[in-house]
């Protein structure tokens, strides 16, 4: 008689389960890979970049990319009008874009979660007030509001990041509030309250962890908005000031050479597009993987 041992399938941990759904989405994985690559470039920019972003090679002005006639393999993507290596400036620019994204998303996430939890938990008058302010902010196009804020505070990277985090605040407030209100009516919140949990414990330890899924998705998409808005502000001369290597301001600096040297505008823009696309792809993938309704 043969003995057959039957082992129960090992249940997946939530993380494994998440990765199972996330990895079926090829676009999301591609987005994630690119984001990892760009973060690596941002962190190790000093070692990865072939040249200093501000070093001006006077004998190599407006050099075309290496594979074109007249190109030089020491400047793979060519040089700009004062002889700076475009590839090195792009690599150093990723540092700026990623850190602005992190600062802007973290700041608006923290503020948004706080306001949203307060509005959703206490309801009533305070909720109405917060939501009215959110509605006003939503009535303004985000770029216009950001431009207005930077116009007052003065153009700089810090002010641009501040403006971007203010304009993306409403989405986080709305999401947190809606999720909080949905969780508030559940039994586990009621039982915690019966045991004697205070408002702070209920808000941050009971409710917040259960509201995180939509917030993670929104934060990922928030990165793409932050990078795009930062580049737009830089392009309009309201963000990073020269000679800082920032993708948007690299574009506007090169405007007058568009006709003579296509590469000075093509590569920074392509970089913005691919980075934003990567975050959007990953956001879509996260949404599908974290949404239990779509898993079935």
């Amino acid at each position: 008689m043969s003995s057959q041992t039957v082992t129960a399938p090992i249940p997946k941990t939530p993380l494994q389960e998440f990765w199972h759904y996330f990895s079926t989405n090829k676009g999301a994985v591609a987005g994630l890979s690119f984001i990892v690559l760009i973060c690596f470039m941002a962190i190790f920019a000093d070692f990865v970049a072939p040249h200093s972003p501000s070093q001006q090679y006077r004998d190599a002005l407006l050099l075309p990319p290496a594979w074109l006639q007249g190109g030089n393999w020491s400047f793979v993507l060519g040089t700009d009008d004062v002889g700076r290596d475009i590839l090195s400036r792009l690599i150093h620019g990723s540092r700026l874009s990623i850190s602005v994204g992190i600062v802007a998303v973290t700041a608006s996430l923290i503020m948004g979660i706080l306001l949203g939890l307060i509005a959703g938990y206490f309801k009533g008058m305070i909720d109405t007030m917060i939501m009215r302010i959110v509605d006003i902010m939503l009535a303004m196009p985000s770029l216009l509001l950001a431009i207005a804020i930077v116009a007052i505070l003065g153009p700089s990277i810090v002010n641009a990041a501040l403006a971007i985090s203010i304009v993306s605040l409403p989405h986080y407030v709305r999401l947190t509030r809606a999720a909080t209100m949905a969780e508030m009516s559940k039994d586990y919140v009621t039982s915690s309250r019966v045991i004697g949990a205070g408002p702070l414990r209920l808000m941050f330890i009971c409710i917040l962890p259960n509201c995180l899924a939509p917030l993670i998705v929104q934060a990922t998409l928030g990165f793409s908005t932050a990078i795009l808005d930062m580049a737009a502000l830089g392009f309009l001369g309201l963000g990073a000031q020269p000679p800082t290597p920032e993708w948007g301001s690299m574009l506007s600096d090169a405007l007058q050479f568009v006709q003579r040297a296509w590469w000075v505008v093509t590569f920074p823009g392509l970089m913005i597009l691919i980075t934003v696309l990567a975050f959007n792809l990953m956001g879509d993938g996260l949404r599908d993987a974290l949404d239990p309704k779509l898993k079935q």
């Binding site: 009535a139 770029l143 116009a151 737009a232 309009l236 574009l251 296509w262 392509l270 597009l273």
Partner: protein, 336 residues
């Protein structure tokens, strides 16, 4: 119905108050004394300072200043430009048609391309066509439009020479300003080829400005169509032997369009803020370029007034979209 419209209208009042508060505070947050900012580098004497201060009402308490400001706004008085000395409202009205014309053409482009693309993607779900439409729309959605504008300009204007680089019409034409809309004015004028020139100038800016709305509309149309196509009544219609295109266009599309129309209405904000970037690149003389130039010149009344008007336009359009949505969808109308 009227109760619903009234309820939506009453929500606009606090939003309007909030926006006027915002633009009112805006100008007071600027570092430095507003009168010295106005006077510029030359500076003003103490007497002149007091005189201007009284004239502009800066010696009054803040709440009085605010009510004066709102009173002026309600009568269409947004102050005068510091540079041209013209009323802000007047400048706005002369430039606004150019922006409307551009935004309208961009919206037409977005709908004409986005809607069919979304329908095809939904009908051919899972095919190469579907995947490419979705890839294109996600790319369009991620597009830095100022770069897209430069790229198209580089290819079609500089290299191929098919379209003009910037402006609304060729300088050889002198078009009388009748309506402010170049397309209409060019048609009304006797100049031969003026209309053609105006259209040629509109093509690239409209494509650039319409790219993001197009992507949003295509995505929304696809998901809305997919939802409707799985409904029982569609299966019934197919089972009855109705032609497939008729099921898609007449039966499915009509219901799928409701959320799409809402999304189209909500694109007005994207179009107006996108106009800032598009107009800057194409030297299009509209309100976007006007606002950016005013920020550069520190012409604060223009910035303040311009932002206020744009915000009011968006609130109004959003309100109309909401009401239209309530008219076509009774569930929204009767919910509290």
């Amino acid at each position: 119905m009227f109760q619903f419209i009234f309820r939506r209208l009453s929500l606009v009042v606090p939003t309007f108050i909030g926006i006027t508060l915002l633009t009112f505070t805006l100008i007071r947050l600027i570092p430095g004394d507003p009168i010295e900012v106005m006077a510029g580098e030359r500076g003003v004497s103490a007497e002149r300072h007091a005189e201007l201060s009284a004239q502009l009402g800066f010696d009054q308490p803040l709440y009085v200043q605010y009510f004066r400001y709102v009173g002026g706004v309600l009568q269409g008085d947004l102050g005068n430009s510091l540079i041209t000395k013209e009323p802000v409202m007047k400048e706005f009205l002369t430039l606004f048609p150019a922006t409307i014309e551009l935004a309208f053409c961009a919206a037409v482009f977005a709908i004409l391309v986005g809607l069919p693309a979304g329908i095809f993607a939904a009908v051919k779900r899972g095919t190469v066509l579907d995947h490419s439409v979705m890839t294109f729309s996600l790319t369009g959605y991620s597009m830095p439009i100022f770069w897209w504008a430069l790229l198209l300009m580089l290819v079609f204007s500089v290299t191929l020479g098919w379209t003009p680089v910037s402006g609304r019409i060729d300088v050889v034409y002198w078009i009388d300003d009748v309506t402010g809309f170049m397309l209409i004015d060019a048609l009304l004028s006797d100049e031969v080829g003026a209309f053609r020139s105006a259209v040629a100038h509109l093509i690239l800016p409209s494509i650039v400005l319409g790219t993001i709305p197009m992507a949003v509309i295509a995505r929304m149309t696809r998901s809305s169509m997919l939802e409707v196509l799985s409904e029982d009544y569609i299966r019934t219609a197919r089972a009855k032997g109705i032609a497939p295109w008729r099921v898609i266009i007449i039966h499915a599309l009509r219901n799928a369009l409701i959320p799409v129309i809402t999304v189209i209405g909500l694109q007005v904000g994207i179009l107006l803020s996108g106009a800032i970037l598009t107009e800057t690149v194409f030297a299009w003389p509209g309100i976007g370029k006007w606002l950016i130039e005013s920020i550069g010149r520190r012409d604060y009344p223009v910035v303040q007034g311009g932002i206020l008007i744009v915000a009011c336009i968006i609130i109004t359009v959003n309100l109309l979209v909401d009401i239209a949505y309530g008219i076509v969808n009774p569930r929204i109308r009767h919910s509290k």
